[in-house]
């Protein structure tokens, strides 16, 4: 079965979820489920990607995503190398193009890139033979986060069809929101966005979403709420008067969930600001999938590295 997967995986890069067909997503979820089983074994390592080299190119601070990818690669026996902003030539003023050319010369198999500039992953993909896995570019896309979010929900529900998910918080500056809108919709869910006008994108024309600026109707009968992290600099930029007011008007608490469908779930990509976008007790409550998301993240990233790095064996 794994052999078939190798033969049919059609993509060199993962830039955003819009590249993936429903079949692709289902392939990723199947692989992720089998890797999740490996992650529950006493010895959590398989030789699948022995000899493969993965560079973790994080030009923006990130602990969770980077660790998750690093762990995923190592459990598949790939070699990983880190290229962080502080420790790399970027701090010496090297352009992204020159960094790309340098990486190209090193004959790598995959580059996982996190970058503050929207489009940075595509920039590398257009110039490199290695597979580019987008681990978040600017406000644009975070496909692996969306895949792990959807996988977490899929594991709970078996299917996303007909479910309603509300994405709550700083949508405007969120790559997580952009990728999730596309993927959740593709999987048959209905998506709502809820934020103050200052944190909504300038235009949601063509987005398959319902937009709310009031939390109460936004949460009515939803099956899951995805809280987004509020970057504290949004307040400094004049988009919010203060965090206390934000917590009161848009922060999620157990009280708000009463309007949601029974057994509604709560997600958050982390790291969470307890007491700002989510009430602290709710983050730890039974409804919270936050730690399941972290576990799903490793499995989904193992699945992705597996699919993208073994792709060449079958493709001619």
């Amino acid at each position: 079965m794994e052999r078939d997967t190798r033969l049919t995986w059609p993509h060199k890069d993962l830039l955003d979820v819009d590249q993936l067909s429903l079949d692709d997503v289902s392939t990723i979820f199947k692989a992720a489920a089998s890797f999740q089983e490996i992650n529950s074994r006493p010895v959590k390592k398989v030789p699948t990607l022995r000899g493969k080299t993965v560079v973790l190119f994080f030009a923006e601070p990130s602990t969770r995503t980077k660790t998750s990818f690093d762990m995923a690669a190592k459990r598949l026996s790939a070699d990983t190398f880190s290229l962080a902003k502080s420790g790399s030539s970027l701090s010496k003023g090297e352009s992204l193009k020159d960094t790309a050319l340098t990486l190209q010369a090193m004959s790598l198999d995959a580059i996982v890139i996190r970058h503050a500039a929207s489009g940075a992953a595509q920039f590398l993909a257009e110039r490199l033979d290695a597979s580019i896995i987008n681990a978040g570019d600017g406000w644009h896309a975070h496909p692996t986060q969306a895949l792990l979010d959807a996988f977490s929900l899929y594991q709970e529900w078996g299917s996303l069809a007909g479910k309603t998910v509300c994405i709550l918080g700083d949508i405007a500056h969120s790559r997580v929101a952009r990728s999730n809108v596309q993927l959740l919709t593709k999987l048959g869910a209905k998506v709502r966005l809820c934020a103050p006008r200052t944190l909504l994108p300038a235009s949601t024309e063509g987005w398959p979403v319902e937009v709310f600026t009031d939390l109460k109707p936004a949460l009515r009968e939803v099956n899951a709420v995805m809280c987004l992290r509020l970057q504290l600099e949004r307040q400094q930029a004049g988009l919010l008067p203060d965090l206390r007011e934000y917590a009161r008007t848009f922060g999620l608490s157990a009280r708000h969930l009463k309007d949601a469908a029974p057994e509604a779930l709560v997600l958050h990509p982390g790291p969470i600001n307890r007491g700002v976008e989510i009430d602290s007790s709710l983050a730890d409550a039974r409804e919270s999938l936050i730690l399941d998301q972290v576990a799903a993240g490793v499995a989904v990233r193992m699945a992705l590295l597996f699919l993208y790095l073994t792709r060449k064996e079958g493709s001619t």
Partner: protein, 424 residues
């Protein structure tokens, strides 16, 4: 009538076949084409039905010299102008040093004369404020005397309305128009991308049209209050056109330009993070393109200008948010905008008015209707000749245009200034 020294035979002017007779650097006459008429002793240019236009004026160009010669220099910019059918180039002041002093103006003119003694010619636009900093007026009388034909803070519009008002009054005293780049200083200046559906999808910061229109409205109000002329640079959106129409209806001395890229591209050109389409003001929507085309035909937009803004390849080959704004336009402007004539959206007379007669009138440059006595400044343009936009065909040092690699129809086959071939 003295004997012609040069005759352009069988050219198409405003739809009719003509013979253009020239002597002493001036037009003797422009007659209906007569295959039997002989011109003994004259040099004959067989136009073969090519379009005859007066040489164009480009009122908005960044020549980059002094200071940024790796992007463009005066010689390369003027060569691109020559092959683009543009005989007079008004160059913006954002060089290093800034053209905010008569000595810089003189040095630009001197370099241009040495590089191309017979043209295309440069007419510098002086900085409105010292160092373009928006803090103190530049010595406009000195600079006007040295050859500046207008003043502008292009690229860094003056945010301080009191200072801008004084600048308008002082420029009027000196007898030079002010060209304003309209952009609110706080609404994401220089984003290079329209705020809207595409910026939201790509996760890019956008500049909304309201950023332009706020300053357009301010400038129109100041022009009305002070009774001074003002020229609005690179208008990009419908809402600006609406304000300009209202100002013109009131009889205010407000003139406006737009650029070829705003007539042929929308924000969708940025999809794929194409930095060649990053320009300020940004490319907007289909609706704006329609409004601008209509305004151009109606004369609400008075002139066409390129806003030629060359940047080196390595500067544009970066993350979108870090790329400089600007499109290289001198090589492609005539061919691109001729599409409007070919499509019947602009008459040939309107075309040459927007590219020559109107800018000449607004900025006090020589008129040229190819009438007897006018300078022998003309272009022959083959509207059917196809070429591929790229470094081989372009004369600018920089190829930062969303047209790169595309086929354009229409090519300048001859360009004469004062009766001299400037393509030689």
């Amino acid at each position: 009538m003295s004997a012609p020294e040069l005759v352009v035979r069988n050219a198409r002017r405003l739809g009719a076949p003509v013979d253009l007779l020239l002597a002493g650097g001036r037009v003797l006459d422009c007659l209906a084409h007569d295959p039997k008429r002989s011109h003994e002793g004259a040099t004959i240019i067989e136009a073969g039905g090519a379009v005859l236009l007066p040489s164009l004026i480009d009122a908005h160009v960044h020549l980059r010299e002094p200071g940024f010669e790796y992007k463009e220099d005066i010689a390369s910019g003027l060569t691109a102008a020559a092959f683009g059918g543009i005989g007079r180039v008004m160059c913006m002041a954002n060089t290093r040093p800034v053209n905010d002093d008569a000595s810089v103006t003189e040095s630009i003119l001197d370099t241009a004369r040495k590089a191309r003694p017979f043209g295309p010619f440069v007419h510098p636009i002086g900085a409105l404020t010292k160092g373009l900093k928006g803090e103190a007026l530049s010595p406009m009388a000195d600079m006007a005397q040295a050859g500046c034909v207008a003043f502008s803070n292009d690229g860094v519009p003056v945010a301080n309305t009191e200072l801008f008002r004084r600048a308008l009054e002082y420029a009027a005293t000196v007898g030079r128009p002010v060209i304003d780049h309209c952009e609110d200083p706080h609404l994401f200046p220089g984003a290079g991308m329209n705020e809207g559906a595409v910026s939201s999808r790509l996760g890019l910061r956008g500049q909304p049209w309201v950023a332009e229109v706020l300053q357009v409205e301010r400038d129109i109000l100041l022009a009305e209050y002070l009774g001074v002329p003002i020229h609005l640079a690179h208008v990009s959106c419908r809402q600006s056109v609406e304000r300009i129409a209202a100002a013109k209806a009131k009889g205010l001395a407000v003139t406006a330009e737009t650029c070829p890229h705003y007539l042929f591209f929308t924000e969708e050109a940025v999809l794929g993070y194409d930095t060649a389409a990053k320009v300020n003001p940004p490319l907007r929507t289909k609706d704006d393109v329609q409004a601008l085309r209509q305004a151009l035909a109606e004369g609400l937009i008075d002139i066409l200008a390129t806003d030629h803004a060359p940047h080196a390849a390595h500067e544009k080959e970066v993350e979108f948010q870090d790329a400089p704004c600007g499109i290289s336009g001198l090589d492609t402007a005539l061919a691109l905008t001729w599409k409007l004539v070919a499509a019947g959206q602009l008459t040939e007379l309107e075309f040459e008015t927007r590219w020559r007669h109107a800018p000449a009138a607004i900025f006090g440059l020589p008129a040229c209707h190819l009438s007897p006595g006018d300078p022998a400044d003309f272009v022959l343009f083959d509207p059917m000749a196809e070429w591929i936009v790229g470094s081989e065909a372009m004369h600018s040092k920089s190829t930062n245009t969303p047209l790169l690699g595309k086929t354009l129809k229409g090519k300048v086959t001859a360009h004469y200034l004062a009766g001299r071939d400037v393509l030689a």
